[in-house]
């Protein structure tokens, strides 16, 4: 186990180094000069040069990589070029909102999608199964930004039942939750459909496994067989998908945060890209990458908990 964690830790460092390198290269590859983009068309060459050197753009990319690593070792993400404030202040003020959005969406997907799949698998070819198939397949095909726009139009614009923009009044939890409802549903819809299909398929498969036949021959009740013995097996592939899923939800959150003007990592990175604020983009993407790796790691740990056959420390057996 410990060996596995150490291995994963090294892998994480390696991936993050690659991300930093790629992001630093990006500045040199993408056309257009960030300094003139920030300063606008009327900036003097001298001023542009000053900003360029403040952003380390006049130095080779490996200098930027080294600088960023050094900063990280000091627990800092660097300083924002526009406001002169530490970048971490921006990042950590919006990060919780994105996390809450992603986790709420994921929970919705799990709480709605999995029961849908279980019901379909235990009632195969019934009319409800067919209905669920239609619902879940159409859900899978709706991109989150389309769902977001429709929800916004229906519930905020037409019905006025839920707020459209922002986070709600500061310190008001109820209001915060009201503002969370539409974005999280929009983000969850694809995953509800996807999970329902996935769970249906894998549970149906498991119900045909020889060990389920064994359970039946032992006279166990159908409920115990389905919800205890079969479901735990069927959830294993689902967990693997969810690990990657949380990462892709963060990506999806960018659109949702733009549509609902909701402060978060997505909006932060989006705004930074628009003004070519590369240090900010770099830090934002780095944090998202790190979270992605972290969720995958957690998924792997849950995996071993569900399936005892998977040994994390293979070499030590």
């Amino acid at each position: 186990m410990l060996v596995y964690v150490v291995k994963r830790f090294f892998m994480t460092i390696l991936v993050l180094l690659l991300v930093i390198t790629f992001l630093s290269l990006l500045v040199h590859i993408v056309p257009g000069d960030p300094a003139s983009a920030i300063l606008g068309p009327r900036a003097t060459p001298a001023l542009i040069q000053k900003v360029r050197s403040a952003m380390d753009l006049d130095k080779p990319f490996y200098y930027q990589v080294g600088n960023m690593v050094l900063n990280l070792l000091h627990g800092s993400l660097g300083t924002d070029i526009i406001t002169g404030q530490p970048i971490s202040r921006f990042v950590f003020s919006v990060l919780p909102h994105t996390l809450i959005l992603a986790i709420t969406s994921l929970s919705l997907a799990v709480l709605i999608g999995i029961p849908m799949g279980v019901f379909s698998a235990t009632h195969p070819d019934s009319w409800m199964d067919h209905l669920m198939a239609i619902i879940s397949i159409s859900f899978t095909t709706i991109p989150s930004y389309v769902a977001g726009l429709f929800l916004l139009l229906i519930f905020a614009v037409q019905l006025h039942t839920l707020p459209a923009m922002g986070l709600g009044k500061a310190g008001d939890t109820i209001d915060y939750i009201r503002h969370l409802i539409l974005p999280s549903i929009a983000l969850a819809i694809t995953w509800i459909g996807y999970l329902a299909r996935l769970v249906r398929t894998s549970l149906l498969e498991v119900l045909n496994e020889p060990y389920v036949r064994t359970s039946r021959s032992e006279g166990l009740s159908e409920g115990l067989i389905r919800y205890k013995y079969a479901l735990k097996n069927a959830l294993i592939p689902t967990i693997a998908v969810l690990g990657v899923g949380l990462g892709s939800l963060m990506g999806g959150a960018v659109f949702i945060e733009i549509i609902f003007s909701r402060p978060g990592m997505g909006l932060l990175i989006y705004n930074a890209i628009q003004i070519r604020n590369y240090p900010m983009v770099r830090s934002g993407v780095l944090i998202v990458s790190f979270l992605f790796i972290l969720t995958n790691f957690i998924a792997d740990l849950i995996y071993t908990f569900l399936d005892p056959r998977i040994q994390l420390n293979k070499g030590q057996s």
């Binding site: 892998m11 064994t214 021959s217 032992e218 006279g219 009740s221 013995y229 569900l306 005892p308």
Partner: protein, 693 residues
């Protein structure tokens, strides 16, 4: 004599989109308390359907349309689903074929066993989980799980195959049911484990007086274990009687043929009996007697009327030949007069004494080790890299025109050795010589030319043929690979004829072939380039007895015709007796004994050979009590971590202190052609000498 289960006129149908198929037709048989009833027949005969029907666990499209299942007088078919559920596992238990997949992989043994007990809580009230756990542990101890109390929390994958089957048996019997249905419980296991499990089943029957319905296709096991035999063919009980009666004087032509097609040392020099045609599919069952199209005795009545069950000395048979108005040949003459008994050409004994120049294959201190892949990071942080010694120093010679069988339990390294001889696996050290030419370091390009002369018949007949190619494309592929021009149509016909297939098969795809046909195509493909050496990996695995008999006959004929050299990799010791000239026994990557087949069977010098040979189930119930069987304890250790000294010492009954330290060398016994690697081979030799005289 208390009747436990009485199956009366049972009729089972499967509803498919196209038609309603009759899977079981008018089945009648009875199981008495404490009896083991063998249900035998080839695959597709409806054996497992009967088992599912008794449990009332038929698939949704299966229906019991008629008949009764009287369990201690109560008709199971009249019970509600909930009442039936309480019979399952409580009164009637079942064990299945594959212990690897029949236990739930994500729950520990305790959870599964305790739930199986508590599922019937309403009957044995006030049973707590810890009481149930005690009950489970005592049953596990009883089936031979060492230190069950501390292992019960383990998961299925932490047990070996044999242990898992023991756990299955413990789970099935912990509630002390009156009837146990065993559906091919040993066909996925090695012969030594098979002997252990059948022995265990018999002991438990003696102790608990459980009645057992034992479903199998292996006549050897039936002869070892059963009191009564029910022979099944195409959904019909064709014969039903006491074990000795059925084996000594089989009545039904099918039973006669089945018994004669079983390879054993009795029919060493004769051809095995094959049954023409194949088991009919449920979609087009013949009218009248279901066996008529394959029966040589069949008269016109057999094709028109269904036979009725006839009683001959309380031994039931379903055949027109026993009716009073039968005009044809007597059933007893079936196969006795037919030309199936042709002896093959007498083998010249010189073949075994050929000079060194005629070696086709020779290996010198051959080693094949596999390393675990631990990756770059693993190395960086100093993980230990495991080493599997699949083949660990083997010297073997195969002479021109002989058949050498490589035997041993799974994990003994026999398949790796076979693959390495063909250079499909690269040896770690040592040499392989083919016709005197060293091929260990030959370049890939030169190996290609050599491979024309050496071919392999792969284990899984269907999956080793590309599903996207027709039979004729498959047969011509070897010529394409080696860029040899041939007259395609003629060649395909020629090859198909050689393996006994009609030219109609040429345009079929592999999935349209039966197991036996696919195996024949595999053989034809290997034969295409006229090799001199053939390596056959489990050539009869997964085939029914009568089909396997056809394959074995074919292999023998081909050898006589083309002077092929065979290396047979198998764990089926019955076929060795029939086809192999010499046997090489492997254990944990090492050769432990090699010698002529008959000598090895009658006078084994190595304790492992001795145990292997005695574990073979022989289809003769009269030998059951006469033969003293040597039970091997435990299972083959992991080749990652082989025992010190003699690798066999932990399971050996002759073990002494010397064996734990010094690995024995392969030595010839009194300068004969028999070599064994055992410190006490002289002593074992003398003992078996005494036993045999």
């Amino acid at each position: 004599m208390e009747s436990i289960l009485k199956v009366e006129n049972l009729e089972i149908k499967y509803h498919t989109r196209q038609a309603t198929l009759s899977a079981v037709h008018k089945a009648n048989f009875e199981i008495i308390k404490g009896q083991i009833v063998g249900l035998v027949g080839e695959s597709g005969c409806g054996k497992s359907t009967i088992a599912s029907a008794i449990m009332r666990l038929l698939p949704p499209n299966g229906e019991i349309t008629q008949g009764k299942l009287l369990f201690k007088g109560t008709d199971l078919l009249g019970l509600s689903e909930d009442e039936m559920r309480h019979r399952r596992g409580q009164d009637i238990s079942m064990i299945f074929q594959d212990p690897m997949t029949s236990l739930n992989p994500v729950f520990n043994i305790e959870e599964q066993m305790v739930d199986a007990i508590l599922a019937h809580r309403s009957r044995n009230q006030s049973k707590s989980r810890s009481e149930a756990r005690e009950q489970a542990i005592s049953m596990l101890n009883r089936v031979g799980i060492p230190d069950a109390a501390s292992h019960i929390r383990n998961f299925p994958h932490q047990f070996s195959g044999g242990m898992r089957q023991r756990i299955m048996i413990a789970t099935a019997l912990q509630t002390n049911p009156s009837l146990l249905i065993a559906d091919e419980p040993t066909s996925a296991l090695d012969v030594t484990l098979e002997a252990q499990i059948t022995d265990l089943i018999r002991k438990l029957r003696d102790d608990l007086q459980t009645s057992i319905l034992y479903i199998t296709h292996d006549l050897g096991i039936v002869a070892e274990l059963c009191d009564q035999v029910v022979v099944f063919y195409a959904g019909n009980v064709v014969e039903n009687g006491e074990i000795h009666q059925v084996f000594n004087s089989p009545l039904h032509p099918y039973t006669r043929a089945l018994l004669l097609s079983h390879p054993s040392n009795k029919n060493k020099t004769v051809r095995l009996t094959t049954i023409k045609g194949r088991v009919p599919s449920l979609k087009d069952l013949p009218v009248g007697c279901k066996f008529a199209p394959r029966c040589d005795l069949a008269e016109s009545i057999c094709f028109e009327q269904e036979p009725v069950q006839t009683n001959v000395n309380s031994h039931f048979v379903l055949c027109h030949a026993y009716a009073q108005n039968w005009q044809g040949k007597a059933a007893e003459t079936y196969l006795n007069s037919s030309n199936n008994y042709q002896p093959t050409k007498e083998k010249t004994p010189q073949r075994l004494l050929v000079s060194e120049s005629e070696q086709t294959v020779q290996t010198k201190d051959l080693k094949v080790h596999f390393k675990d892949s631990i990756g770059f990071l693993g190395k960086l942080i100093g993980e230990k890299q495991g080493l599997v010694r699949a083949v660990d120093g083997v010297d073997v010679e195969v002479f021109h025109g002989e058949s050498l069988a490589l035997v041993g339990e799974s994990g003994s390294g026999k398949t790796t050795l076979g693959r390495t001889i063909l250079r499909l696996e690269k040896p770690t050290s040592g040499d392989v010589l083919i016709n005197g030419q060293e091929i260990t370091h030959t370049s890939q390009k030169d190996i290609r030319h050599l491979r024309v002369g050496m071919q392999m018949i792969f284990q899984d007949p269907i999956s080793s043929l590309s599903p996207r190619k027709t039979v004729s494309q498959l047969l011509l592929e070897p010529f394409k690979i080696h860029k040899i021009r041939v007259d395609s149509d003629k060649k395909v016909d020629e090859l198909l004829e050689m393996v006994g297939l009609s030219s109609e098969q040429a345009d079929k795809y592999p999935h349209q072939l039966s197991g036996g046909q696919a195996r024949r195509v595999g053989i034809a493909r290997a034969l295409a380039l006229k090799p001199s050496l053939m390596i056959a990996d489990e050539p009869t695995a997964g085939l029914d007895v009568s089909v396997a008999a056809g394959i074995l006959n074919l292999m023998k004929d081909l050898q006589d015709e083309f002077g092929l050299t065979y290396i047979l990799i198998t764990h089926n010791l019955n076929i060795i007796n029939f086809i192999a000239d010499r046997v090489a026994v492997m254990y944990l990557g090492k050769l432990v004994e090699i010698g002529e087949t008959e000598t090895l069977f009658s006078h084994p010098r190595h304790p492992y050979t001795e145990a292997l040979m005695s574990a073979v189930a022989i289809p003769d119930p009269s030998l059951r009590d006469k033969r003293k069987r040597i039970m091997l304890e435990g299972e083959i250790p992991s080749p990652r971590n082989p025992p010190s000294g003699c690798p066999f010492h932990p399971r050996c009954r002759y073990k002494e202190e010397l064996c734990t330290r010094v690995p024995p060398k392969l030595e010839s016994f009194q300068n004969s052609t028999q070599w064994a690697a055992c410190h006490f081979q002289d002593q074992i030799g003398r003992e078996s000498e005494l036993l045999n005289h």
